[in-house]
């Protein structure tokens, strides 16, 4: 029996008057890849950003309900603590342009003012970059700036940066939509590796990607969680007609 790591209870998110996520209840099991899909503007990204409390950084954004991480409500925790436990990777690769590749990986420690012995730093950098299959490509250019890498490499660098903090959950907001097909497949392969150690929640508007990489899929429509099931089940035998219509391409 797999244990639940993240659970939302009646979670609602707003931008001012605009109700974008409506009463979402979802249980996310540990060491799984969860795909969150749905048409544009369905609230999937907002929900994802609610999990690590990035949502509230936007002026006018509010949220109601609970997001439980290991049975603790993240809304009651300090956001900084939440974000250390729940890492995030964004749509566009955003390495820190002023830092080297090495410093980008340990940015979570360095920029937070956490002092580590050199040996620990080296170990974290190598370990994190190996996890994202980037070590071999960059091990001779660790002192170069992060922006010197290609888009796909930058995105893996950003994943390494999140992994380096040893979070429990990793959130991905359409992580491959700015990447070319080859980089996309590299990142997708990573998901299989990463789920051994982390729980992955991936927002994607690409159904094939959801089908390829995820164990369970959540389908959002108009701010509601319409259906949430094992991916195979969802794609072969959807229960809701809206899910069926979306999967069969009757609307997007």
């Amino acid at each position: 029996m797999e244990s639940t790591i993240v659970k939302s209870v009646d979670y609602n998110a707003y931008f001012g008057e605009n109700h974008v996520v409506k009463n979402v209840n979802i249980e996310i099991p540990r060491n799984n890849v969860i795909a969150v899909m749905g048409p544009s503007g369905c609230g999937k990204t907002t929900f994802l950003r609610g999990i690590n409390r990035m949502h509230e950084l936007i002026p006018g954004a509010t949220a109601r309900g609970k997001i439980m991480l290991n049975n603790e409500d993240v809304m009651e925790m300090h956001p900084i603590f939440v974000r250390l436990k729940i890492g995030m990777v964004f749509q566009r690769p955003n390495p820190f342009p002023n830092l080297s590749i090495y410093d980008n990986v340990i940015a979570g420690y360095k920029l937070n003012g956490i002092k580590l012995p050199k040996a620990d730093k080296d170990r974290i950098v190598e370990h994190s970059l190996t996890r994202v299959a980037l070590w071999k490509e960059v091990k001779d250019s660790l002192t170069k700036k992060g922006s010197f890498l290609s888009g796909g490499q930058q995105q893996r660098l950003c994943i390494a940066r999140a992994v380096a903090m040893e979070p429990e959950v990793l959130l991905f907001d359409e992580p491959t939509s700015a990447l070319d097909p080859i980089s996309t497949s590299t990142v997708e392969e990573l998901f299989h590796e990463l789920k051994k150690n982390y729980t992955l929640i991936i927002v994607t508007h690409n159904m094939q990607q959801a089908a390829r990489v995820s164990d369970k899929t959540a389908f959002f429509y108009m701010g509601e969680l319409v259906e949430y099931d094992v991916t195979k089940q969802m794609f072969t035998n959807p229960k809701d007609t809206r899910t069926q219509n979306y999967i069969t391409g009757r609307f997007s």
Binding site: L57, R83, M88, F90, N94, F96, P97, G108, L111
Partner: protein, 281 residues
């Protein structure tokens, strides 16, 4: 080719020519001023000129050491006051774009930029010189700092606004508190733009005379006490150029030349540094 197309090509060429001519016309006055001042001033400049005090009327020789040192001290103190205020205010404006306070301070900064320098000088006179009972370099520095503020604030704000939000988010997503996102992520990425604003504001006030007339006042002797009157290059130029003595005119020409070279060097230095420190996004 039809005539119509030929006509359009001709019109395009004429327009292009016009922009080139006008662009050139903008450069010409500057070049003439440069040549004129350098011609008149460069011969006066030598080591003696830079290291000696002005001589009384009738004696030949003499230099502008007091004005050089004074200008440097006054500008340094003004920078120490204006730079932290300006950068912090710029950070606030760029990070809180829509707040009411940001709206009003932005408006105030814009108005402050348009306030004539002589008015700032008079205000400094009534607020600082009169209560303190004496002209002082410090009051001059404060007047100049007020003039620097809008330039630093707006350039900081504009620089930071241009940085993508994804950078801030990358910082927040790693659990950085706001002050660390600003100090460790935003500022280092915008450092070249902010510095260029700071340097331009220094270049801008280096030649400011009006605010110093009622504050630093001028001093024929070398003084390093910022609570006492102090000489500065623009003041020296103003006083000596309007005097009836030829020796003093020479001194004013030399000082003008020095001031010009100083401002020019600052601008070039800023350009080079901005390019070098620019963070490739």
């Amino acid at each position: 080719m039809t005539n119509h197309v030929k006509y359009r090509i001709g019109k395009s060429a004429a327009f292009k020519g016009l922009t080139i001519v006008l662009a050139f016309a903008c450069v010409v006055p500057l070049i003439f001023i440069l040549i004129y001042i350098i011609q008149a001033g460069i011969t006066k400049i030598n080591w003696h000129f830079l290291t000696n005090l002005p001589k009384p009327v009738g004696e030949t020789g003499g230099g502008i050491a007091n004005a050089l040192v004074g200008s440097m001290i006054i500008i340094l103190v003004a920078s120490v006051i204006a730079i932290p205020f300006g950068i912090l205010c710029g950070i606030y404006l760029s990070e809180n774009r829509k707040s009411r306070l940001a709206y009003w301070s932005r408006l105030c900064v814009d108005i402050l930029q348009g306030v004539p320098s002589i008015v700032i000088g008079i205000v400094a006179y009534f607020w600082l010189v009169k209560p303190l009972g004496t002209f002082s370099a410090l009051s001059g520095s404060i007047a100049l700092a007020i003039m620097m503020l809008p330039i630093i604030i707006r350039s900081t704000e504009e620089t930071l606004k241009l940085l993508p939000d994804s950078l801030r988010e990358a910082g927040f997503a790693l659990g950085l508190p706001f002050h660390r996102v600003v100090l460790k992520v935003i500022l280092p990425c915008g450092v070249s733009g902010i510095l260029s604003g700071v340097m331009l504001s220094v270049a801008r006030i280096a030649g400011e005379t009006a605010p110093l007339l009622f504050t630093a006042f001028g001093n024929p002797y070398l003084s390093c006490n910022i609570l006492k009157p102090m000489q500065s290059l623009p003041l020296l130029i103003f006083n000596y150029a309007t005097s009836p003595y030829n020796d003093w005119h020479d001194l004013a020409w030399g000082a003008s030349c020095i001031l010009l070279i100083w401002v020019l060097a600052l601008n070039i230095f800023t350009k080079v540094m901005t390019r070098k420190w620019k963070v490739q996004l």
